[in-house]
Symmetry: C2
Subunit: 335 residues, 2 copies
Amino acid sequence: MDVVRNMKISTYLVLFVVALFCIPSLAMAFEPNVDPLPSWNEGSAKNAILSFVANVTNKSNPDYVETEERIATFDNDGTLWCEYPDYVQSRFMFDRVKDMAPEHPEWNDTQPFSSILSGERFYASNFSTKEVMQIYVTTSSNLTADEYMSLARNWLNRSKNPHFGFPYTKCIYKPMLELLSYLRYEGFKTYIVTGGDEDFVRAFSDEVYGIPPEQVIGSAIKLQFIENNSSCSVMKLPEILVIDDGQEKAKEIQLNIGRRPIFAYGNSEGDIPMLQFTTGGNRQGLGLLNHHDDPIREYAYDNGSAVGRLDKGFEIAGEWGWQVVSMKNDWKYIF
Amino acid sequence: MDVVRNMKISTYLVLFVVALFCIPSLAMAFEPNVDPLPSWNEGSAKNAILSFVANVTNKSNPDYVETEERIATFDNDGTLWCEYPDYVQSRFMFDRVKDMAPEHPEWNDTQPFSSILSGERFYASNFSTKEVMQIYVTTSSNLTADEYMSLARNWLNRSKNPHFGFPYTKCIYKPMLELLSYLRYEGFKTYIVTGGDEDFVRAFSDEVYGIPPEQVIGSAIKLQFIENNSSCSVMKLPEILVIDDGQEKAKEIQLNIGRRPIFAYGNSEGDIPMLQFTTGGNRQGLGLLNHHDDPIREYAYDNGSAVGRLDKGFEIAGEWGWQVVSMKNDWKYIF
């Protein structure tokens, strides 16, 4: 009888191990004590996220949303990674100007390039919008997307945020990484909708955020089709196709995704139309805005700043039912 | 001892059943006798597909491609569903003109609308490209994407292909449905890249092809952002944003997906740049073109026809290593 009982025990043991091996996700789903957002302090922002996700994933809740319609869109600069005191892509563009300068001796006497080379003007905010666009198309064109992405990747590998002293791809907000993972685990498809160049963000989005290139929507340069002896490529032209900011974000979401998100997260005025599009439909949607109010652990800025203006966000968040997230109070950790 | 032996047998039996239950996909993958393309006759086209998929999914093969990079793009009209003697979307647009006519008495005397209403000109090919574009923007604008898609869905539910006598959404090629399923099963992400309006195709793509809206890339109308008392939408303007045909297909793939496909399937001149972009890179890629050569079961057309010109396809298929699929000989069933 001992033999039989041992066999029984071993049968159940093996079954249990096999089941654990085969269905780890189910095993996790049944674990009620795991906090999916451990870097978030308890409070209205965290509660709003948790209860929204609980509602839209619960089939018996009136706000239930089918898995394939759970679209979540995130701004990048200032929402997922640090944007202060200058956008990371600006640092990349300015370094590209320096790298390209030997082939452009005329830049020593031509604005806006000469002030980048002389160091006279250092931040993107020291240049007019028209100048920034000129720098953008000059440093991003006459390349294939692959060539451009590999330049961006190389630059990211060797560059550091001067304030924090570590690579830009480590200046990622830990609470946001947890949020991305949590939403994906709950069946959401996570997108980046960025004012930055979409190929610049695609160069690191999968590795850093787990967001593949096809789920990155952003600003873009016009392309040219090139065919040559059984080879073919598309080249970037020195001309802007779209600057994906403000109302363009909502329009690009419709064009690229073809449906309204139910979750949107940004941090500045340029993200407001995306949040409006997300929460201004017939269905329950959640909108959130990061408020950079932590001068000790990161930066404090909102209005009147070169980046991340949030005046209008504060003004209409209540009316539209959005959460303003205090990075100082709502986040246990920043990085 | 019999008891012990029975326990052993039952242990393995239970383990086997549990394993089958937990990992059905693996169980299927190990089934060597299932033909994934039963509607395809044996021949070079079927062989090319099967051996390409076998190579790119085999880790020890030099042509192996990581799952996330297995992008497959398909034209819609004439590739996935019947396009002859007129594009389905043209039939929709012409019926929209009739539905909208009571609010536009001036159309009785205004071309191109008057000839649609009088029946004087019946097919899209009876109109100039400029006229077709005018009909397209007139019948597709001043609507939100949701409103437009629901008009398209209603129309598809009540309309039939006059030749075959069944709904347009049943005039889908069975061999292509098998191919889509097979590729997805092998880890491919399947996209539609269509010259048709992307929202028109999104109205049925998920239900009919299993392709969600965000994997449909197509022609599009410009959008306008509209905000009104805590509600928000994007409206279609009477202006074209992009006609996704020819070289635009390759460019739109780069813009929307951000990487080169490894598999592309079309049927006309407008698909050639998509195939070139797919097979003209550094990596192994497969390109295929449907040849409509079956006048008994479907239609026979290729050159000099209003739709589906294939002159250049025949001319360069060999040089670029593409398969021309004879619908008459390579397909056991059409629908």
